[in-house]
Symmetry: C2
């Protein structure tokens, strides 16, 4: 399964064009993005589990349920169109209708996504101008601008484009804060020119997202606007079964989720938390996320401090019962705690490992077969600064 | 139920002496504390639910289970004696034995508490010297020193002493980080000279703690060492039923938990989160804690930003289902969101309310009768600084 990196982002697969433009929803920077396919595409999505789903999330779910096909995605940054009542639903619907008109598609075949401040109505005059402008610029080189136009506190755009031998896969994502996906994630859009039947594509996407986006966390906060969409144009003529596309989708989702965590708000270090030998998958996931979301663990890593007592604290708080016998913690492959006692460890080596850009925490619960790997980042002054000064 | 403030802290009630001393467990400051009663006292405790309970927690639970009486508490700061295996249990037991010997009590009647770094063996020679020194200084004016000797990242000691008409109540607590009590809390010790039967005292303490310490959070991290103990000497000759002592214990626990949150690591603002009309108590608690533990809500409050969209996000993520109709959010009594839409609000008034030392968030779910009030503090640069530089 060799993937060759190619240019083009979401437009790398055959059959897609894109564009990004600025219409003044947020001060400075591009804020409207359109991804359009030449024909209707087999499509699938996963969506936030937040009870207060934003209007575009509800609309896109509705559109996807119709027959599992989409032809375009229109997205804006700077305004989440969440907690905006009936007006919000009308605005989301209007975005789909406008985009559909410009590209000659049916409104039902347009997905809408928004990200930014919650509880503010969309400035629809600007949005309308933006959609018209973006639609007029759609082209096969537009992937880069589209990826820029979905950014909020992101410091860089997040793209991928792979030649997979006979067919291609492209993707873009945004996300930096309010990241603790649950059955879904921030915004990510993946394209392919392989041909996959919608139901199989949906199943493959859910599996891939569960094993990637759903295992990252930046601040434990599940957004109202999370959405991952995949569109398969079939233009390459290569036809894939669900299991085949799943492995490619998993790699694409992993790649994009790593980019999201690396660009976590204020992040200075990437943290890998692995839980081994848990009683079951649910326990593994709960324990790993508890460690990954601990403010104390995250500030220790920011300080380069191998303070494994905080890992033990987070672990113990997440487990209903646990015998410390059989439990061990390794930092960067160095055993620091086992069987309820500190382990003898070379302090110099440990401090050196903590000074790196990536810190690995391996936790063995010693009571089962399940394991999981979760990605997160440290908690720095930068996180506080960004979220104190930025009005989400 | 008028309480008159009096001096004396935990020694204000008749029958108690205390002392605090420095023995070098932590650099600078007092670090060993003893609270001793003239006679065996009816006693009760609540303890952390962390699966990796520290040795002193396990020992004290064991001692209390015997017959519900205690005569002394020996506590140290700077070292949690947690994740220290059999050696840790032996050390905790040795602390009880030493204290018992000095004050002429049975070791079974001595409670032990520790707070500080996890995963480090206690320096028992120093501890032994400290216990001997503290025991020699026990006196009725020792409450202040005892309260100082249990501090870690606390910036001030936390005490209370009330004349309740015929009998008195005293208390001390420590706690500033790793605070998200669950059926228990950081360290808090309460004394009274009322006479209460142990089983009734236990029931009253559990109710009081559930409605106070268990509803505060600083960083969502449940410690391995949380413990609340109450000792009732009966020396006043006033005898109370469980229901009568419960209301006093609730007030004492509330008072101490407020002091803990006010001194939260890096805290600049006190936040009150109230959830009204929840379907049941569990939902009210889950929703309120989700808002109180949201890094995004806490950084917004630090920045004085009335960013209620983050309250909506945290609320929605905590609820399995919710209809935004009927849901409202008020900041400082000003309605900012209702029925799935932003409310019209006087921005000037709102900004002024956010600039105060205390911010009140009132959330109405509009679908039941349950309500709860949770206390927390903001997330500032100070929290990151303290936890980056301090080796817990």
């Amino acid at each position: 399964m060799n993937a060759k990196e190619i240019p083009g982002g979401i437009c790398a697969p055959l059959g897609f064009t894109a564009a990004g433009t600025a219409c003044g929803i947020k001060p400075g920077g591009l804020d409207i993005s359109i991804l359009a396919a030449d024909e209707r595409c087999s499509a699938a999505g996963t969506f936030t589990t937040n009870a207060f789903k934003a209007a575009p999330v509800r609309l896109t779910e509705e559109h996807l349920k119709k027959d599992g096909f989409l032809q375009a995605v229109v997205a804006n940054s700077g305004n989440a169109n969440a907690w905006t009542g009936e007006q919000g639903m009308e605005d989301a619907r209007a975005m789909a209708v406008m985009a559909a008109e410009f590209i000659g598609a049916h409104p039902w075949d347009v997905a809408v996504a928004s990200t930014g401040e919650i509880g503010v109505y969309l400035p629809m005059q600007r949005v309308s101008k933006g959609i018209s402008d973006a639609a007029s610029r759609l082209n096969r080189e537009g992937g880069g601008d589209a990826a820029l136009a979905i950014m909020t506190t992101d410091t860089r755009s997040k793209e991928l484009a792979w030649d997979l031998g006979g067919f291609a896969m492209g993707g873009m994502a945004k996300g930096s804060g309010m990241i603790r996906p649950d059955m879904a994630t921030m915004l990510a859009f993946i394209t392919t020119d392989a041909e996959v039947e919608p139901a199989q594509l949906g199943q493959a996407l859910r599996s891939a997202v569960d094993a990637s986006f759903n295992l990252i966390t930046i601040d434990g906060c599940t957004s109202t606007n999370d959405m991952v969409l995949v569109l398969a144009s079939g233009a390459s003529g290569v036809s894939l079964e669900g299991k085949e596309i799943e492995k490619h989708l998993f790699r694409a989702c992993s790649h994009l989720s790593r980019l999201v965590v690396e660009d976590g708000e204020g992040a200075t270090r990437f943290i890998v938390v692995r839980v081994h030998q848990a009683a079951d998958g649910e326990e593994a996931r709960r324990a790993a996320l508890a460690v990954a979301e601990s403010s104390l663990v995250k500030t220790a890593v920011f300080g380069g401090d191998p303070n494994w007592g905080r890992v033990i604290q987070a672990l113990g708080a997440s487990l209903e019962d646990a015998d410390s016998m059989g439990v061990s913690v390794d930092i960067a492959g160095l055993r620091v705690a086992e069987n309820g006692k500190p382990a003898e460890v070379d302090g110099k080596k440990l401090n050196k490992a903590m000074a790196g850009k990536e810190v690995e925490l391996d936790i063995n619960l010693g009571r089962g077969e399940s394991e999981v790997e979760v990605w997160t980042c440290d908690l720095s002054y930068g996180y506080v600064k960004i979220n104190t000064e930025y009005h989400t």
